[in-house]
């Protein structure tokens, strides 16, 4: 049974080191024979068993006796777990490719995203987006964010404080980056742009971040209701016509060119900060730049 696992493990290791190739070959021979209901001749399963039991025996002879007695059961369970975890990994990779997050449309912590390197991101070159603060300042803080992403919402309070504190010395540009893994993310970005046209962007933005679940689940009706509550004139027409869709798509394209793999992503003075606590890191960089100036 173990030779099935051994084939996958040794075949993978063989990609990196030639010393595992003979083992992978033996495992393959064993799997081939087992698949055709013949006994494994390679002796690999016996070797793996003996070595595993020997290792357990060093620690606890009693445990070795127990494992040896039920070895077939253990190896069956181990093989099953291996293939289950392999299936989950494959699903995670597929989700990552399709939705940009290994958990799929629901989002959440994703190890693949964590493994990505912010140092490889490229700073944006245009000021297109929602601008605030001192528009003539040389110090520009870019934020790529998604209105229905919980991580973007998590940093929002710090962003507001940052804006308040540095509004005279720093220029702030928000670039919508709607993640496809979150429902209605694109619509949220279009709605925020319409609110901006109606002169109530920051109020509308605050509402979006306050209850993201409402917008992700109710969609159009929720966006319009909020606009109505805020008395934003011309919102429904703007929203229905998707007036600012091309602008949103442009910042989305720009974000992809920058290599954005998660939101929020801040750029300050060419340095990128991604995900949780990224606003604190961005502020630290602002302080450093202001201190130098």
């Amino acid at each position: 049974m173990l030779c099935f696992v051994a084939l996958f493990v040794f075949a993978f290791l063989s990609l990196f080191s030639a010393k595992y190739r003979p083992l992978a070959k033996r495992a393959f021979g064993c799997v081939l024979r087992k698949a055709t209901l013949r006994p494994c001749e390679a002796g690999l399963d016996e070797e793996l068993r003996a070595k595993s039991i020997a290792e357990i025996m060093r620690v606890s002879p009693r445990a070795a006796v127990f494992v040896n007695k039920h070895f077939e059961l253990f190896s069956f369970a181990f093989t099953l777990l291996f293939f289950l975890s392999l299936a989950f990994t494959a699903q995670g990779v597929a989700n990552f490719v399709l939705y940009g997050n290994c958990n799929g449309p629901e989002g959440g912590f994703c190890i693949y995203s964590e493994l990505q390197n912010p140092a490889l991101l490229k700073s944006p070159t245009t000021l297109q987006g929602i601008r605030a603060g001192n528009l003539s300042s040389d110090i520009v803080v870019f934020e790529f964010g998604c209105y229905v992403c919980p991580y973007t919402a998590g940093e929002e309070n710090k962003v507001r404080k940052m804006l308040e504190e540095y509004k005279d010395r720093v220029q702030f540009v928000f670039k919508p980056f709607p993640l496809p893994s979150h429902p209605y993310s694109l619509e949220a970005a279009v709605a925020a742009a319409c609110a901006s046209e109606g002169g109530k962007y920051w109020e509308y933005r605050a509402e979006l971040f306050k209850d993201q679940h409402k917008y992700s689940s109710q969609g159009d009706a929720a966006f319009k209701k909020t606009a109505s509550d805020l008395n934003i004139s011309g919102f429904d027409e703007c929203y229905d016509k998707r007036k600012f869709l091309s602008q949103v798509e442009a910042t989305l394209k720009e974000g992809k060119e920058c290599g954005i793999y998660g939101t929020p992503t801040f750029f300050v003075g060419g340095k990128a900060f991604v995900g949780k606590n990224s606003a604190d890191q961005a502020e630290a960089e602002i302080k450093r730049l202001l201190g130098r100036n």
């Binding site: 016996e46 070797e47 068993r49 003996a50 020997a54 002879p61 070795a64 006796v65």
Partner: protein, 399 residues
């Protein structure tokens, strides 16, 4: 003789391994390794052909090695044929003997495949028929049936000196006597006997004796067929080629006298030098001392295996008739697992399976194979203690 001290001559023992697989192949002392190295560094030419200085040195070295081996085994130099190994030597005799007047080969089921298979092949081809001397489940040849089996139809009696499954010797004195009374040749497989006991070809009385270099501290790729001068002349050619013929014309070939007749092509000169060095090494110790040392180890080994609950020892239950070799199984634990775990737990090298002697192992009652521990001059009682302790742990798995 300080057997502890001679362990320093074996580089592999510095790795703290316990090598109990000498019946498969022995470890090599530095003296043997050095002899092989010297050939390649200082000579590296072919013997008996060219006339330059290096070629002359090669001839001297090669013939010197033949003399050294002959002295070790108690024969004349021209009775020593260098072969690739014992297998080739055994094949040479079994396949080159004339079976036109006498067609029977007498052997036993205790033989190594290297002897058994050429005999079975001769029968399959219709060249000879085989009769097996009865053997007991303890791996002993039934002496009483020797006279019955060997008769005037017998061309060859082919038998082991010492088995590789139980380490027990065959009753060669009686077999040789009865065979010669009936005009049959005797071929002795000395692959296990020559490395571990005092074997003198002349005293043995056999017509042919085959052995390997690599089981007696020598290099791999070299073996010997020792044959009485008259008996060697009776054999037909086997592998022919360069330096086996005196003159070669398309209408007739005149072959050289043995041993050259059987040494076709470039020989394993380095191997011969290494084998000579191994003979020298063993002679310095003295084969009598080797036997005594192994007998002590054999007693301790049998005792160690016997003390393990659930262990089945094959062959005689005492060490009197054995060299330091024992086959066994542990109840409830597969033989391969025992060998692999000994390796993993205590770096003890053992062999498991049928040891190229399937009929013999099955006859002993180990239908699926067994574990074999085979010791040599470099092994110690302390190593057997470690082996016993490890076996004790592994035996728990079967309870």
């Amino acid at each position: 003789m300080d057997f502890e001290k001679l362990r320093q001559d074996f580089p592999l023992l510095k790795n703290k391994i316990i090598y109990f697989d000498s019946a498969c192949t022995s470890l090599k002392p530095v003296q043997v390794i050095e002899a092989e190295r010297r050939y390649y560094e200082e000579i590296s030419a072919c013997a008996g052909r060219s006339a330059h200085l290096l070629a002359k040195r090669a001839s001297e070295m090669f013939e010197g090695a033949r003399e050294r081996v002959a002295k070790f085994i108690g024969s004349k130099p021209n009775e020593v044929v260098f072969t690739k190994n014992a297998t080739e030597a055994l094949n040479l005799v079994v396949r080159s003997l004339d079976y036109s007047k006498r067609s029977k080969i007498v052997t036993t089921k205790l033989e190594h495949h290297s002897l058994l298979l050429p005999i079975i092949e001769q029968q399959r081809r219709g060249a000879a028929r085989v009769e097996f001397l009865p053997a007991t489940t303890s791996g002993l040849v039934d002496e009483a049936s020797v006279e019955m089996a060997i008769d005037r139809q017998t061309a060859l009696v082919a038998i082991h000196h010492t088995t590789n499954t139980t380490g027990v010797r065959a009753p060669l004195e009686k077999i040789v006597k009865v065979a010669h009374e009936n005009g049959a040749y005797v071929l002795v497989d000395g692959a296990q006997g020559v490395p571990h006991s005092q074997v003198n070809f002349r005293s043995l009385g056999a017509d042919f004796l085959a052995f390997s270099g690599h089981k007696m501290l020598g290099p791999t790729g070299i073996g010997c067929l020792v044959g009485r001068e008259e008996a060697l002349k009776e054999l037909d050619t086997f592998i022919v080629g360069g330096e086996t013929a005196e003159s070669v014309r398309l209408d007739g070939v005149k072959f050289l006298e043995p041993p050259k007749k059987f040494e076709g092509g470039i020989q394993n000169y380095a191997g011969a030098a290494g084998l000579a060095a191994a003979c020298e090494y063993l002679s310095k110790i003295g084969m009598g001392r080797v036997e005594e040392h192994e007998k002590r180890l054999a007693w301790k080994l049998i005792e160690a295996i016997g003390s393990i609950e659930g262990a089945t020892l094959y062959g005689p239950k005492t060490a009197e008739k054995r060299c330091a070799l024992a086959c066994f199984n542990l109840g409830g634990v597969k033989h391969h697992q025992v060998a692999l775990m000994c390796d993993s737990l205590a770096k003890i090298a053992l062999r498991s399976g049928f040891f190229c002697a399937q009929p013999a192992v099955e006859l002993m009652g180990a239908a699926e194979g067994a574990v074999r521990a085979s010791l040599y001059i470099y092994n110690t009682p302390a190593e057997i203690e470690a082996f016993k302790e490890t076996l004790g742990k592994i035996a728990m798995l079967g309870r």
